[in-house]
């Protein structure tokens, strides 16, 4: 696909770069040298830095290894798709691991100071007046990870090779902060740090219309902006103190319960008893019926990923 090149640079081991990536532009992060380099990536809304990429919602929506056509979501209460992954030639990305940090290398290896993604991102985004406290967990492109049978994460050999790349389409004006992951004594980049090429292209109409369905993802009442906050000003004082005029106003409180009597036929009773006998859906008739309603509803009507377990472990992880 022919896109107009707007900007390119190389980031070397220990470096990152804050880039203004406007809506419709495409950032390519490309393996050069021998490949095999993890690239941490983060982003902020260029016009409101308090809207930032959130691993949690992204992980919930797309699993632990997002790839092509998945979105990078902003944190609650904004919760909007900030960017889309247009291309991914490797298919091993991670949003389970937090960014590595100076503490991590000192604690685990006795190495201080040491290159780490938190400090690299903090230094890169300092160009835009952001503080180290403004760094948050990042998208780990090319990082090959899994979860073992006991639920513990692990890092495997990096599979990216020279020429491999990811392309990220900005769905709003962003400050994008990619960096060369600083972990050289972990398997993250197969124990060797390499440079990465960054290139910004003008996106094509085809790039943008590919995600025209995202408009549906921007139409929710509860994707909130600061005008809706009860506290709008960003606090300057670090010391916390109680507001004597505070009156709690939680949503839908008090929660009131109602006991419904449901008269079951013999067939319905048999179904209830079958579910109850499994021991998985509650101990009482009422608990089982309540579970059954919600389980049926989730299966048939819930938007997004279903949260009922199908397989807890990939076969290849065994």
């Amino acid at each position: 696909m022919n896109r107009k090149l707007l900007y390119e640079t190389t980031i070397n081991p220990g470096e990152g770069k804050a880039i203004e990536l406007l809506e419709g532009q495409v950032l390519r992060i490309e393996q050069i040298a021998d490949g095999g380099q993890c690239a941490d990536f983060n982003c902020f809304n260029l016009h409101d830095y308090k809207e930032y990429f959130h691993t949690g919602r992204t992980r919930h929506m797309h699993g632990l290894h997002p790839s092509t056509d998945d979105f990078l979501w902003s944190a609650p209460p904004r919760e909007r798709p900030m960017a889309a992954i247009l291309a991914d030639t490797v298919g091993t990305n991670d949003i389970l691991y937090p960014r590595c940090s100076a503490f991590l290398f000192e604690y685990q290896y006795g190495l201080s100071p040491h290159t780490n993604c938190h400090d690299i991102q903090a230094e890169a985004q300092r160009e835009y007046g952001l503080t180290p406290d403004d760094v948050h967990d990042s998208f780990n492109f090319f990082m090959n990870t899994g979860v073992d049978v006991e639920g513990r994460p692990y890092i495997a050999e990096n599979r990216a090779r020279k020429g491999d790349y990811v392309e990220i389409l900005a769905l709003m004006d962003l400050l994008a902060v990619p960096n060369v992951c600083g972990a050289d004594v972990m398997a993250t980049s197969s124990f060797e740090l390499k440079p990465l090429r960054l290139a910004v292209y003008a996106g094509t109409d085809a790039d943008f219309t590919r995600y025209h369905h995202r408009r549906e993802l921007l139409s929710f009442t509860n994707q909130r902006n600061p005008e809706e906050f009860r506290v709008r000003a960003i606090r300057v004082e670090r010391e916390l103190s109680r507001d004597p005029d505070y009156v709690p106003a939680f949503t839908n409180v008090p929660l009131r319960t109602e006991d419904l009597e449901v008269h079951l036929s013999p067939i319905e009773t048999a179904a209830l008893d079958y579910l109850k006998a499994t021991g998985q859906f509650g101990d009482t008739d009422g608990e089982v019926l309540r579970y059954a309603f919600h389980g049926w509803w989730i299966h048939h009507f819930m938007n997004g990923p279903k949260h009922f377990d199908r397989e807890s472990v990939d076969e290849e992880d065994l």
Binding site: S265, R290, A292, F293
Partner: protein
């Protein structure tokens, strides 16, 4: 040979107003008469899901 089925019985299910909103909206959307009908429909539907897919919590 006859297969014995249990007699029907009355179940008391406790729901909060948010859950009842989901029940009522589902009943309305699907054209059911009311809460009873949708809860029973869900019970049979979920039973079938568990039996066919080995559905786990």
């Amino acid at each position: 040979m006859t297969t014995e089925q249990p007699a029907g019985r009355t179940v008391v299910v406790r729901l909060n107003q948010q859950q009842l909103e989901l029940v009522d909206r589902t009943a309305s959307d699907l054209g059911y008469a009311g809460r009873d009908e949708v809860l029973k429909k869900a019970l049979l539907g979920f039973d079938a899901l568990v039996a066919s897919e080995g559905h786990e919590s």
